[in-house]
Symmetry: C2
């Protein structure tokens, strides 16, 4: 493992204390908010090359380079790097941990300044618009007025749509990948299973596991396992694992006999090392609450009414059953109805929802084409 910085990425970042309180959709207010972020590349002289990348449910700000914990590659090294669609030599790329998260931004595991103890469940419920509001304050902090592009997949794509609704004047282009404008009943149902798994774990202790010195690892692992299945297509699971066994022959017991069982257990076990259970509750709640049209009398196109000047790119994957293509088509239809320009590509892939995180050459080339064209329009080199 090599956790040294890659000079070609021109990495920066830190933890920003936001100026002023963060007003939340719940009516609550967070007076002190810290947002952990990374940057790659430099803001150009006319400040026209900033790109905000929004992460998904369990993602974080370490989008490129190597993660400081564990040294693993950032979660989108397929897309961000020299010669890639988002290039630190051309773009000033910013990625921040969402408010409510657990990678350095203020969230339920942060210390509540009023009590000196972790917030736990006394942390206010947050929403996708709250996350975006915090990002906008971060951009203020960084002196970035407008974004050349806001880009994200899955929950990141929800944030992209929210940006277009709430801060269209700060956007030149927007890329929404494998996302939805609202969580479906099935989406909510799977998240609720995960939350119930966490809350069923006695170590969760009504959210106050900090005082016990433990963590609801078993519950969180089960939550992750259930969610992980939804990120993969049936075909991908079958191709990758089929009914292949771990050992020669069955155990005739409840050990992991099948490779897919072992794989899922591993997904659960490694997840608990890097993620906070309460953050999982809060962020899944934010996603379930997400229904962009709801604030516009149920008319999604109205959400984009002020974003007609923004160039949109919407991508979906054929085998994504978490946010299937019709969800993206609804977004595109609403964008068209609002008068915005939208490119839409459904990418043929059997990798399921997680395809946006994987090596998908078509996605990469579509992103490169869209961002190059938008860059020319924006006057970027």
């Amino acid at each position: 493992m090599n956790a040294e910085k890659d000079a070609t990425l021109d990495e920066g970042g830190g933890v920003a204390r936001l100026a002023g309180p963060l007003r939340l959709d719940s009516g609550a207010r967070l007076d002190q908010v810290e947002i952990a972020y990374r940057t790659y590349g430099r803001l150009n002289a006319d400040k026209s090359n900033a790109v905000l990348v929004c992460h998904a449910l369990t993602g974080d700000q370490h989008v490129a380079g190597r993660h400081p914990v564990g040294g693993k590659p950032g979660w989108w090294t397929q897309v961000i790097g020299p010669g890639l669609p988002l290039d630190p030599q051309r773009h000033f790329i910013i990625c921040s941990n969402v408010v409510g998260g657990c990678m350095g931004s203020t969230g339920p595991s942060s210390i509540n300044p009023e009590t000196g103890k972790p917030w736990g469940l006394s942390f206010p419920v947050i929403t996708i618009p709250d996350m975006v509001r915090a990002q906008a304050l971060l951009l203020d902090h960084l002196g970035v007025e407008t974004l050349f592009a806001v880009v994200g997949g899955s929950m990141g794509g929800m944030q992209v749509l929210q940006w277009a609704a709430d801060y269209p004047e700060r956007l030149f282009s927007a890329v929404c990948i494998a996302a939805t404008a609202r969580h479906s009943a099935q989406n909510i149902a799977f998240h609720e299973v995960g939350r119930q798994a966490i809350m069923a774990d006695p170590s969760w202790n009504s959210g106050d596991y900090a005082s016990l010195g433990g963590r609801p690892e078993k519950g969180l692992a089960v939550a992750r396992m259930a969610a992980h299945i939804t990120y993969l297509s049936e075909a991908a699971l079958q191709r990758k694992f089929g009914r292949e066994l771990q050992r020669d022959g069955l155990s005739w017991g409840f050990d992991a006999d099948f490779q897919v069982e072992s794989y899922l257990r591993h997904q659960g076990a490694t997840f608990v090392d890097r993620f906070d259970a309460n953050s999982y509750l809060y962020i899944t709640r934010a996603m379930d609450y997400f229904d962009l049209a709801a604030s516009y009398d149920g008319v999604l196109a109205e959400a984009f009414r002020r974003a007609r000047h923004v160039q949109f790119c919407v991508l979906s994957f054929t085998s994504d059953w978490l946010y299937p293509t019709p969800e993206s088509r609804d977004i595109v239809r609403a964008l068209n109805a609002s008068g915005a320009r939208a490119s839409f590509v459904e990418i043929d892939s059997d990798k399921g929802h997680d395809a946006f995180l994987l090596d998908e050459p078509v996605m990469r080339s579509v992103l490169a084409g869209f961002l190059d064209a938008a860059g020319s329009a924006r006057g970027l080199a």
Copy 2:
């Protein structure tokens, strides 16, 4: 609630002690096996009208009439009753709780005669062929040599296929609904999530919850919730619940805000009242181990080689994503290749896998048509 018997069903049943030991695929042997069963109707003089109905994962022998516990209707009152496809006035209908179950048949919650304590995890792992072997011994006990039909949906359908492979000489016809000839990686993955949820519950106590006087209710409820999502189609969930709220407005907390959350929690909570957690482990394991072709060098048609005389009916539902139609097509292709006669109908339904348990008029009329024709061929009135 009216738990009185319905005279038109001519109900019977009890608990049969099987003659001789039950040899299991694991190599283990159960010396004393009790099988709880229900019957509806009477065996005719030439013993040609017996029908075995095989239940699904969480089903039981109470297929018609009213359940003695709680007085709810049996799980297939849409199909079994006067004037219905399976009619106690024409058929002698038998349904037994699978070995490994928890509704009166020998299973992990039964007393191990050697220790005087519940088996718990010392109960041997069972398989679908083991379940079928126990059913065949039950038929011996009942003096039923041949079946006019063996019928089942989901795991019941797996048993139907196993019957055709292992005891074709005892079958006249076979109806396999919403099933598969082998569990896929995704099927196994969802079951593994459920098992991990149970085993993560400290009350599970390595399967020995009997000695603690408690039960892993929280873990079992989470397992049920995860599984239940797979029984419904995305469209059915959306139609039934969408994003409808429980109350006026959001809770801004982790209560059940959405009706789908409340529904799932209810599914989990009521399930633990009627089902044993260890039985859930054992029966899901049996389903995951199921791969009918595996014993025939991977050639499914070989499994049906001795069943050419059996009239098969295979049904699937368009919106079943647990065992989607291609799984049924594989079965039909294998039947055709083996030389058996097979009717196949894919029923248009948006109700998902659970459609076979619901009021599906097309399913009912297909079943009626098939069983009437087979009945005529069999010489039934």
